[in-house]
Amino acid sequence: MANNQAKKGIVIDYDSIANQESFKSLVRRKNSFLWSMTAIFLSAYMLLPILTSYTTILHQKAFGEITWVWIYAAGLFIMTWGLCHLYVAKANSFDREAKAIIAEYENGGGRR
């Protein structure tokens, strides 16, 4: 990449992009989405061994002989697939914003 840049004589002014309000807002919202979801799924996941090791509430029968621990585990699987697709939907909208940010930078005379 560095070589291509030198050859074409194009330098991206990262500071200029980093200082765009649109960029700052994107990073803020993106990080708060990513980290709050991460906190949620990691908590849901870590709660399982805590509950199974220190309580017996998941040892009780839920449906027939199926105990709640299997239901909880199934919940974690569904959560994983669900959050995967939520991520893609979110990331696609972040992509559109990122494109707009690059366009804003190009139109704003960011090129040297």
Binding site: H59, E65, A73, C84, A91
Partner: protein, 518 residues
């Protein structure tokens, strides 16, 4: 089983060897540059890479190990399936896209995109090579023992066969061959698992509730079989192990490397979706494999074949599908091992040849031709070292090396990845201390653990009392890795605000020269 191979088994094994060699030959014609070798030229599509990730990830430990663990320990065995799957969310939410946007061939590339420093690169390469070697020894020793069991050939011959195959794929076909071997393996593994699961469900009259009901009576554990506690009775130990599973995946070099084989972050994203669905369905099916083995093979026969339970799935296949299914599942296990070790060789070689030789020793002044040659020499080096170690480790109980690899990955690699992308104040000193603290604390803590020390002869490597009671010390070593990076950063005055802004822009927009040059 030990009375030699059946014709069916020979057919399946030869078919897999033949097919993968044809792929390697085809791939070798497409492997001329360093980028071809390490990343298949970045040309894989989302579904291809997704299947390859699944093929790279679902090791023999997943297929044979979890099936055996569920068969012997019920729900406690299923903890692995849950941990390995939820780990994908960490990969997707925190690591995949910034990694793709910043890196080139290796984890070190991504970290040095921010800190262009030989010490940082060297430490990252060291951590990668350590993880690769541990993981590989575990795979090769397991493969040797398994093939010995399946085909009745000597351990050392089995290890050499696997070693020869993995080296051939990587040496001639690089990432293209490795990826396609992984893709085919993922398809075969899913096919085999679906067939066995179907047969198991059929035995239970296609009723999940009947299956659970039966499982309360068929084992000697009674109803307790369906609840946690058969194997893991120490709460902190269980929690610690689950931390290693969920955080380690996002730091495993051979998984991270797969994100460089696609053209952009969007494709990286779609490949994780594919992988999560495939891997998730597979892990659901481990319930049927485990329950089926417990019900139709029985605990005694499983343990008689292999004390760790690794033969549960093949024996179940034999019980329900006869010789043909047994042979097929054994061949699938063989393909599984080959695909995983090939990926490991490649990621080890990238750290050795690209990071240490190309970037540190030659300071990046290296021609394309030299890079490819170095990559090939590096692959042979990594392969030979791990084969020798595996030959020497035959009698050791090495199953814990996989969880050690996860522990190092979570403790040494994940903190530095997160800090590099998300922490502005982070600096060179912090990057080195984060990786070293995580690596050393994981190694030292495991060396004091029950995996290495056991008062009963033959249960662990040394005879004696362990110093800590955690079999997997991630509960301590992962926070230490983060803390090491934090303290190291604050002790150094160095800051890199301008560079961080660049990394932040690149990671979040994926901007490159192409975007602004049109």
């Amino acid at each position: 089983m030990s009375n030699g191979m059946s014709l069916t088994a020979i057919f399946f094994f030869v078919a897999i060897v033949g097919l993968t060699l044809v792929i390697t030959w085809w791939a070798s014609k497409r492997t001329s540059s360093a980028s071809d070798f390490y990343t298949a030229g970045g040309g894989l599509t989302g579904w291809q890479n997704g299947l390859a990730i699944a093929g790279d990830y679902l090791s023999a430990a997943s297929f044979l190990g979890i099936a055996g663990a569920v068969a012997l320990f019920g729900f406690d065995g299923f903890f692995f399936s849950i941990g390995y799957l939820v780990a994908y969310l960490v990969v997707l939410y925190i690591v995949a896209e910034p990694l793709r946007n910043l890196g080139k061939f290796t984890l070190a590339d991504m970290i040095t995109a921010r800190f262009d420093n030989a010490k940082v690169r060297g430490t990252a390469a060291l951590s990668t090579i350590t993880i690769v070697l541990f993981y590989m020894i575990a795979q090769l020793v397991g493969a040797g023992a398994l093939i010995q069991l399946l085909l009745g050939i000597d351990y050392w011959i089995a290890v050499l066969i696997v070693g020869f195959m993995m080296t051939t794929y990587v040496l001639f076909g690089g990432m293209t061959a490795t990826s396609w071997v992984q893709i085919i393996k993922a398809c075969l593994l899913m096919l085999g698992t679906v067939i066995i699961s179907f047969l198991v469900l059929k035995e239970f009259g296609f009723s999940i509730s009947t299956m659970f009901k039966e499982m309360t009576t068929v084992t000697d554990s009674g109803a307790a079989y369906l609840n946690p506690g058969l194997k893991y009775t120490n709460g902190l130990d269980t929690i610690s192990m689950l931390i290693a599973l969920v955080l380690g995946t996002a730091g495993l070099p051979h998984i991270l490397m797969r994100f460089f084989t696609v053209k952009d972050a969007k494709t990286a994203r779609s490949s994780v979706i594919w992988a999560t669905w495939i891997v998730g369905i597979f892990y659901v099916l481990t319930i049927f494999l485990g329950f089926g083995a417990a019900a139709f093979v029985g605990k005694e026969d499983i343990i008689a074949a292999n004390a760790a339970g690794n033969m549960a799935a093949p024996l179940l296949a034999e019980a329900l599908g006869g010789d043909i299914l047994f042979s097929f599942v054994c061949a699938v296990a063989f393909a599984t091992i080959l695909a995983v070790v090939a990926g490991l060789v490649l990621s080890g070689a990238s750290a050795l040849s690209h990071d240490i030789y190309g970037q540190i020793i030659k300071k990046g002044k290296i021609t394309e031709k030299e890079q490819v040659l170095a990559a090939r020499i590096g692959s042979i080096t990594i392969a030979v070292i791990s084969i020798l170690l595996a030959l020497g480790a035959q009698t050791l109980n090495v199953a814990f090396l996989v969880s050690l690899a996860f522990c190092i990955a979570g403790s040494a690699n994940l903190p530095v990845i997160i800090y590099t992308i998300y922490w502005k104040r982070f600096n060179t000193a912090g990057a080195v201390t984060a990786m070293l603290t995580g690596l050393i604390s994981a190694l030292v803590l495991v060396a004091m653990s029950p995996n290495v020390w056991n008062p009963v002869e033959g249960k662990a490597i040394f005879v004696g009392d362990p110093l800590i009671m955690l079999t997997n010390p991630a509960l301590i070593s992962v926070p230490l890795g983060f803390l090491g990076g934090f303290i190291g950063t604050l002790l150094s005055k160095e800051t890199d605000d301008a560079k961080y802004r660049e990394v932040d822009v690149k990671a979040n927009t994926g901007i490159s020269v192409q975007d602004v040059s049109h």
